[in-house]
């Protein structure tokens, strides 16, 4: 769907992107992670052709990025706004038509979406009379009216209450079902684990990590297992710092160069194993770890 190679961009002396490669397959939800100022927004702006890259290439569906792609991309920026004095209906119509929809088609789709999202009574309301959450919904719909093949969402959940965030999440998953590719830029790791199939992490203008969620997690396995034993046959070494609870001993054990099977065999000598579970890092832990370790470089 989206192929980016050796993308570079700098503002004067400041590098925003350094040799960034990215491959986003069709139909996935792709998480774009990274701390503030890492270069995510610059990357998104370049894909949206708001600004030009200094060097590098971008291809969408195998063709070089060009103005004809504008109607194929939907973009919800992090800082977003609507015309305060404009009516919901007029506003949606304006955005949809700017993306290349005909008047008739745009009206049909807006009616459909207002109905679907239970917002039919808002159409004649001015944006300044809407609550923040309502305005966000209007904004979200405006972004997808033209049925983009690639949807770029920058912090889509900020500003939503939990109920509306859930609605938006469902909509994103529904869009994915339809084969739409979604790039989700966010700091909120719980939504990344929940929604994303693949992720890439950018820090200090460089891509430092990418792959499917499983691959990323695998490569960050600390090789620690959580173990529970019962019916202890011989005392456990003190260095294991095991804690007893209702006849069960719980502790964590690193592999220390052994295979899991070897560790398991060793543990069997101490008692009956009731739990043997590998510790999987959360995306949040990986994120923090990565940012910290690159800060020490």
């Amino acid at each position: 769907m989206l192929e980016i190679e050796k993308l570079n961009k700098s503002y004067g002396p400041n590098r925003a992107l350094t040799d960034v490669d990215l491959f986003v397959p069709k139909g996935v939800i792709f998480g774009l992670l990274g701390p503030n100022g890492a270069g995510k927004s610059t990357l998104i702006r370049i894909i949206n052709q708001i600004i030009d890259a200094d060097s590098g290439s971008i291809q969408i569906e195998g063709r070089k990025l060009s103005p004809s792609h504008i109607s194929k991309i939907g973009y919800l920026p992090e800082e977003r706004g609507l015309y305060k004095k404009m009516k919901v209906w007029d506003q949606m119509l304006y955005f949809a038509r700017l993306k290349g929809l005909s008047q008739m088609e745009a009206k049909k789709r807006i009616s459909h979406w207002l109905e679907k999202m239970d917002m039919g009574s808002w159409r004649e309301k001015k944006v300044e009379d809407l609550s923040k959450g309502m305005a966000q919904k209007v904004q979200f719909i405006s972004t997808i009216l033209h049925e983009p093949a690639l949807l770029i969402l920058d912090e889509p959940f900020s500003g939503f209450d939990p109920v509306n965030a859930e609605i938006i999440k469902d909509q994103i998953l529904e869009l994915k079902q339809k084969g739409i590719t979604v790039i989700l830029s966010t700091h909120r790791m719980e939504s990344v684990e929940l929604l994303c199939d693949q992720v890439a992490m950018i820090n200090k203008s460089r891509k430092i990590l990418d792959g499917s969620i499983r691959e990323v997690k695998n490569s960050y396995r600390p090789d620690i297992f959580h173990v529970s034993l019962e019916k202890i046959q011989s005392p456990l070494p003190a260095s294991w710092e095991a804690v007893e609870e209702e006849g069960q001993w719980h502790f964590s054990k690193a592999l220390d160069g052994k295979t899991p099977n070897e560790l398991l065999a060793e543990l069997m000598n101490y008692g009956q194993i009731s739990r043997f579970q590998e510790q999987v890092p959360s995306m949040e832990e990986i994120f923090i770890h990565q940012v910290k370790s690159s800060a020490h470089e």
């Binding site: 004067g12 702006r45 949206n48 052709q49 708001i50 600004i51 030009d52 504008i70 991309i73 973009y75 919800l76 920026p77 800082e79 977003r80 706004g81 609507l82 015309y83 305060k84 004095k85 404009m86 304006y94 955005f95 038509r97 700017l98 993306k99 405006s142 972004t143």
Partner: protein
């Protein structure tokens, strides 16, 4: 192209549909005829209700005679000065003119006493009557018969004919040309300021509310900027058109109604002030001839051209400024380079162009693109050589292409910049950068 059209439509409709636009558009032209009607009404009332003012004249030379008018009657007597002064104080007389024995070669000591400050009309009437009498007397004393003198006095009227390049002639009149230049110049000046500011406000609104990020993901910043400038120009033209139609109809209506209530001649005199009172009826015909002599096609065409050209040139600059700041109050620091040429053009219109349309200064003011929209309108009704008009228009086109190019460079970066207040140095860096 299609997208610019969408922006133009939105900018145009969102403004024209506003109640405030409707109100301003409909009420402003009502104000002019209303003021005119009030003035005429007051003048008529005043004239009808005015009591005759009697002025006591004591002439120790027994020489002068003052003709009474509808407003003033002159009563000649040989009362003493104190007695006459008392009459004024008692209210028996409106004023008292004292003419002591005077030396005709060097008349001194003529005094007017009054309870209230005498108005200009009265004083100038007294002055001119006395002056004429003294001059006649002196001519008579030097042996010239006043009869012959009045025969010699002739009224001279210089008719101005402008020869155009095609060999045709047209009657021209400085006053009419002045008025046309004056009105056209001021309209353009006001239009640039009012609508230029609207452009700036619009850009700031889109920037500060962050709508712009979504917009520029759908179209080029240049399209957005041009769409806004053109859309707002449409609003201005609409307003102007409505005004012209409304003012035209209303003025005709008001003068028509008032005209029925009083003789035509009187209405004319009142409407046009004292000036026409002294001139013969043929003056009206001459003014009409002058108006007929004006090449309206050229005038209207060039008005529309300079109206739009000036607006586009400055409009782009206003858009550039709007994109660089986050609030209208921050815009002040960049306004100076825009306001100064405008004010120079405006002042130049009055100080140079309307006084002497063909002077060197007037020429340059009407050629340089930053001042030409206002200055050239001051010259156009006097007749401008074709090559000058062509040069001025050509340069104006280059001028607005130039400012648009410059503004677009600032705009495409400015609209995405938040948090920092730019200086002229930053703007210059934006202009140079390729982004």
């Amino acid at each position: 192209m299609n997208k610019i059209w969408l922006v133009i439509q939105r900018e145009y409709l969102s403004r024209v549909k506003k109640k405030s636009f409707l109100l301003a558009t409909l009420l402003t032209p009502l104000i002019f005829p209303a003021i005119m009607a009030i003035f005429i009404w007051i003048a008529v009332e005043e004239k009808e209700n005015q009591a005759l003012r009697i002025i006591e004249v004591v002439d120790e030379n027994d020489l002068f005679f003052l003709e009474s008018s509808e407003q003033y009657a002159f009563s000649f007597s040989s009362r003493s000065v104190d007695e006459a002064k008392d009459m004024v104080k008692n209210g028996d007389r409106y004023g008292f003119l004292y003419i002591p024995k005077i030396n005709l070669e060097k008349p001194e000591g003529i005094t007017y006493y009054g309870e209230e400050n005498p108005n200009m009309n009265l004083i100038s009437y007294l002055r001119s009557s006395l002056k004429k009498k003294i001059e006649d007397q002196r001519l008579f004393e030097s042996g010239i018969d006043p009869e012959i003198l009045s025969q010699i006095r002739t009224s001279v009227d210089v008719k101005a004919i402008t020869l155009d390049e095609g060999g045709g002639e047209r009657v021209s009149d400085a006053t009419v040309n002045y008025a046309i230049g004056f009105i056209a110049g001021i309209l353009i000046y006001m239009f640039i300021f009012i609508y230029g500011n609207q452009i700036m406000q619009g850009v700031i609104e889109e920037k500060s509310s962050r709508i712009v990020e979504i917009l520029v993901s759908s179209l080029r910043p240049f399209q957005l900027m041009m769409g806004k400038i053109v859309g707002i120009a449409g609003v201005g033209l609409t307003q102007l058109l409505i005004w012209i139609v409304l003012i035209g109809t209303l003025t005709t209506l008001v003068t028509g109604i008032l005209g029925m209530q009083m003789p035509q001649q009187q209405a004319m005199e009142l409407a046009q002030g004292e000036m026409t009172q002294a001139v013969p009826d043929t003056e009206m015909g001459e003014i009409l001839a002058v108006i007929n002599g004006i090449d309206f096609v050229t005038l209207v065409a060039s008005f529309v051209f300079y109206f739009l050209g000036g607006y586009l040139l400055y409009g782009a600059l206003f858009a550039g400024i709007g994109s660089a700041v986050e609030a209208p109050s921050d815009a002040q620091q960049f306004m100076l380079p825009v306001t100064i040429p405008l004010i120079v053009a405006y002042m130049g219109l009055f100080v140079f162009v309307l006084q002497d349309p063909n002077s060197t200064t007037s020429f340059w003011l009407s050629i340089i693109p930053f001042t030409s929209p206002i200055a050239m309108m001051g010259r156009i009704s006097y007749g401008v050589p074709f090559w000058e008009l062509g040069l001025s228009m050509g340069l104006l086109v280059l001028g607005f292409l130039g400012t648009t190019w410059l503004a677009a460079k600032i705009y495409r970066i400015g609209i995405l910049m938040h948090g920092t207040k730019p200086s002229y140095k930053t703007l210059w860096r934006w202009i140079k950068s390729s982004y």
